[in-house]
Structures are given as C-alpha cells and as structure tokens.
C-alpha cells in the first residue's frame, strides 16, 4: 500500500472533474456498420454531478454510444471527450477514473461475491488521489447495494437482480468520476429499483457524472436531471422530464368523422382549431375526440413505430410530436 501512495498525483493534474467543464462531451458522433448507420450525428454532454439518461427503444444505438464512450468500440466519426481524453486512445490512469456497468455479464460465476469485488477493487488502489480514496471499502459497498448477506455466495447462484447489483457495485468500487450504466435495473424488483435510484442520486451528490441508458420512461423520469431520447441514430429530444412533458402537451390530437370518413389532426391550440372546424362544417362533424398527448404517449408511439421497422420515420414523427 505504501508503494501505492507514493505514485499518486495531485488531482489538479487530471482536471475535468471539477468546474463547469463537461465530464463527457460528444459532438457529431457517427457509427456505421457496413451499410447501416447506427449513429448519425449524436451530440451530448454530461457534467459532473449530473445524471443524464439516454432513453430509447431497443436498437436505437444506446449501447453503441455508451461503448464508444467507455473506449470499448471504435467510432466512425465525431468528437468524443471523456474526462478530457479520447476514449479510443486513453490510458489506464483514465480507465481508473471510469465506472462501467455493461448490459450483459455472466463472468466469474464460480467466484464468491466478496472475493470478486475485493479482487477487482485491488486494481484501483494505485490510482487513489488525495480527497478521492480508492477503492471503496468492500463491506460498506456490499451494504450499500444490499448484498451483505450474500458476500460468501457463489456468483452463479445469485438471482438476476442480485447479479446486477453486484455489477453496479463493481462499477463504482473505484470511486469513478464518470459512471456509465447500460440498462442497469434489468431484473430488479421494485424495492431494489428504489434502492438503486437512491444509490444513483447519492453518487451524483458525490459529484459523479452519470450516463445511464434505459428503455423505461418511468425510470428515466425518476432518475434524470436530463433525458436524451435517442431514435434513428440521433438525439430526437432533450430536456428534463418536465420540459419534455411540457413540449409534448403543447400539442393536442383532435379526431373526428365527417361523412363517414375519419380525420386526425394535431394542433397546439385545440380550441381555435375546433372553432374553425365547426365554422366550416357545423353539424357534419361527429365522433369528436380531443386528447392532450403526454410524454408517455409520445414515447410509446415512438417505440411502437420503431419496432414496426421504420426507424427513421419513427424518429422524425416523434421529433414532430415533441417539437
């Protein structure tokens, strides 16, 4: 351990984490596999202490985006800075400041929970900095993620949710300045989910920059300081849950029939539109329905259209709705 302390540098040498500068800065990020363009120019930034949720249907490019930021995947084009460095070329010192929770992990099944967490924690010790002791103490961390009772359990005997909580613990054992969480709550029961939300807020309070992906709008609304909706390889909408909801509900959907034909029109001012409609057609208008769409409606229709196959149409229709 003594050896380790001598090697540590002043935190100022790394920068990035403090001040208004973004911990994650991405502009014009593109990713292309053969003919298909998964990311078509994504811009995003995450500041220290901020929780940004990347929301989108499956296959929208969330995982690809996160893996590029984690340095696990080479991008086709665009500027990417994580903690001031390009993930494609960053070193192990940079790696030590990152926390990563990937989508799918079945590794180390024969290890015991505490055995693996302690083993991986050990790698962070040489990277401790004044004011940022590394790694976190393993027993406390197990307590935090609710796995104290399972410390001696073999990992392949854990439930899906317990396994996921261990993944989260491993992701934060190095006291990261930036934390990437890809679908972290898969398999969580409601209580574990609530515990996880508290944990994320706690980490943000420690000034950690957090980028989290989910396809669950409810989770995004609970966690995010800012939501980025990813669709068609671009950020289709961005803002706090309230801002996004406000923008969606600016439009109302009006449905009616006239002469046996169905009509649908969306309008920011339903009252004025109806006044005009009645003025023009009067008694011909029947089966009238006026509905203010919420963020949830807009998002669900995005996902449905997306899954029906038209990624780009879905994205542009959604952008239309949430203008």
């Amino acid at each position: 351990m003594a050896l380790v302390e001598e090697d540590t540098h002043a935190p100022a040498a790394h920068g990035g984490a403090d001040g208004p500068g973004a911990a994650v800065e991405v502009s014009g990020l593109r990713m292309r596999y053969g003919d298909s363009e998964v990311l078509a120019g994504v811009d995003l930034h995450v500041r220290s202490g901020e929780v940004v949720v990347l929301l989108g249907p499956n296959g929208a490019g969330k995982t690809t985006t996160v893996e590029i930021l984690e340095g696990f995947r080479a991008r086709s084009a665009g500027d990417v800075r994580v903690l001031g460095a390009d993930p494609a070329t960053a070193d192990e010192r940079w790696r030590a400041r990152l926390g990563v929770v990937m989508q799918s992990w079945r590794d180390h099944g024969r290890w015991r929970v505490e055995e693996l967490l302690s083993h991986l924690a050990g790698f962070y010790a040489p990277y401790a900095e004044p004011g940022r002791p590394k790694p976190r103490a393993v027993p406390e961390l197990l307590e935090t993620v609710g796995l104290s009772d399972y410390a001696r359990r073999r990992i392949n005997t854990l439930s899906g949710g317990q396994r996921r909580r261990l993944d989260v613990a491993i992701g934060i054992v190095g006291r990261p300045e930036v934390l990437f969480l890809d679908e972290p709550t898969a398999g969580f029961d409601p209580e574990a989910r609530r515990g996880f939300h508290d944990l994320v807020h706690g980490l943000a309070d420690e000034n950690t920059a957090i980028l989290l992906t989910t396809h669950d709008l409810d989770e995004a609304e609970k966690l995010a300081d800012r939501i980025l909706i990813l669709a068609g390889g671009r950020v289709a909408a961005e803002g706090s849950a309230e801002q996004l909801a406000g923008r969606v509900s600016a439009d109302a959907e009006v449905k009616w029939t006239r002469g046996g034909q169905r009509f649908v029109h969306s309008t920011p001012d339903a009252t004025a539109f109806l006044r005009g409609l009645f003025a023009d057609y009067g008694d011909e208008v029947a089966d009238l329905e006026v509905r203010r769409a919420g963020l949830e409606d807009a998002y669900i229709s995005l996902v449905n259209r997306y899954e029906a196959g038209g990624a780009h149409e879905a994205a542009s229709a959604f952008a239309e709705e949430i203008r």
Binding site: L3, D7, T63, E67, R93, R95, A96, Q103, W111, P126
Partner: protein, 284 residues
C-alpha cells in the same frame, strides 16, 4: 516497474491462486483435468505385463512420461484456447478490460492458474506411477528439475498457439471441435504411446518439427533408464536440442500471438458478449 503494474501483477498471482482453488473444488474441473490420466493409469496397469520390444522395461513405464508431456501440451493448447474462448463469451475478458491494468492481472492469473493445474496433474502422474507401476523410477531432484523446465518451456511453447486459436475461434464449443483432430494427429506421430523411432522417417521429421515430441522426450529423459535410448530417434535424449526447439516455438508463437491477442481484445465489447449469450442460450 511502476506501482499500478506491481499491483496488477500481485492481483494476477492471487487471481491464479483463487482460480486454482476453484478448480480443486469443482467436480467438473477435476474430471476434465484428471479424468484422462486416470483412464490411462488404469490401462497402464492392465498392460503392465508387456515390455517394450527388445528391452525388459514395461511399456506402461514409457507411457507415464509420455502422458506428462501430453498433459503439458494439452494445457498449453486446448486449455488455453477453450478458456480464452469461454472468457470472451461470458464477459470475463471484458471485465478485465473495464478495470485499470485488468488485462495484466487477467493474463498473469491465467498463466499461474494453468501452470499450477498442469504441475498438479504431472505430480499426480509421478506419484501414481511410482506407487502402481513395477520398476518405475521417480528419479531425484535433478530429474524433477528437468521435469520443471520442460513443463514451463513446454507451456510457453504451446500456450501462444492456444491463445491464437482461442482468439480466432469465437465459440468455446467450436474450439474443441476444431482442435481435437489435429491434436490427435500430432499425438500419433510424436512418440507419446509408441516409440517415434519406429515410425517412417517422414513422420519422424514432422514429429521433430513440433513441440509435443520434445516435451515428451524431456519427460522420458527424467524417468526412463538409458537402456531405452535405443528406441529414441537418434538414440540420445538431446535435451539441449529440446530446449532450443521449444524456445523457438515460444518466441515465434509469442511474436505471432501478441498482435492477434491485441486485435481480439480490442474488439471485445458488450454487444459481442450479448451476442455470445444469445448463441449460448439458443443452444439450450
């Protein structure tokens, strides 16, 4: 060496020890590593009445060091390849990548683990042969030193080949399917169960170009009397030549394996692991 690398080195050693402990407490692993040699020991006992042509040494006594050589070669090639493929598929390798200096820890851990398991199997063979076979001479410290360097150099010569195979073949199930037949062919010409000196000359040349023959020769030199030199290819143990050939395989192997390993490691990502999970699940 700087502090992080030292830490990773230590973590790698403890990782190897932990995995060794897991192997010793896993029925499946014990069967995989000790099952084959148990079968061969039983066969040796049945064959114990039969001597090598023109000598009074039981053929089983020649098999034992041959088995030790085979164990080393199987560890270096098959175990390394299948472990690597498995670790890629289940995300172990990606986990190592996600941790600072994790790849150093992973590689050291693997090396320590595989070396310990191999040494254990060889040790069990020595003890079993000494206890069960008539006239098997366990030798002394000088012989064991030979066993030790042949084991280490043998692993170094074959592990890069295993690493290349494990990097290029993505499914752990495919690794065995691809490697087993060529491995059997090499075993056939390498004088493990049948003296290579009695094979046609062109086969002898193939054998002497490959690591397994030399690993087996090194092991036989430690446990067989010099009267058996008559059945070796040049009627000599040729240990210096064995060291030379194995070192050459190790050096060339590492030079080729390192870029392939790097390329493979660079391409590891969560999406790949997820695809592997789906493949594994479809298989049931």
């Amino acid at each position: 060496m700087n502090a992080p690398s030292m830490t990773a080195l230590r973590a790698g050693f403890s990782r190897g020890l932990i995995e060794y402990r897991h192997t010793l407490s896993s029925k499946g692993d014990l069967f995989a590593h000790f099952g084959t040699i148990t079968v061969f020991i039983v066969v040796s006992l049945i064959m114990s009445g039969q001597d090598i042509d023109g000598t009074d040494v039981p053929i089983a006594n020649m098999w034992m060091p041959g088995l030790m050589g085979l164990t080393v070669c199987m560890s270096g090639l098959l175990t390394v390849a299948s472990t690597l493929a498995t670790d890629r598929e289940d995300g172990t390798l990606l986990r190592a990548k996600a941790v600072p200096d994790g790849m150093i820890g992973y590689l050291i851990g693997k090396a320590v683990h595989i070396a310990l398991v191999t040494a254990s199997v060889v040790a069990v063979l020595i003890v079993a042969a000494t206890l069960l076979l008539d006239g098997f001479d366990p030798g002394g410290p000088a012989d064991w030193a030979t066993v030790a360097w042949v084991l280490v150099l043998g692993l170094l010569a074959t592990a890069p080949l295993g690493a290349i195979a494990g990097s290029l073949i993505s499914s752990p199930r495919a690794v065995m399917a691809v490697l087993v037949l060529p491995f059997m062919a090499v075993m056939g010409v390498s004088g493990i169960f049948y003296q290579a000196g009695a094979l046609p000359e062109w086969m002898q040349w193939i054998a002497q170009a490959l690591p397994l023959y030399w690993i087996g020769l090194g092991m036989r030199s430690a446990f067989l009397p010099d009267t058996l030199l008559a059945v070796e290819i040049t009627e000599s143990w040729r240990l210096d030549q064995a060291a030379l050939v194995l070192t050459a395989w190790a050096v060339v192997g590492f030079l080729v394996a390192v870029p392939i390993l790097r390329r493979m490691a660079r391409r590891e990502s969560g999406a790949r692991v997820e695809a592997g999970r789906r493949r594994a699940m479809q298989r049931g």
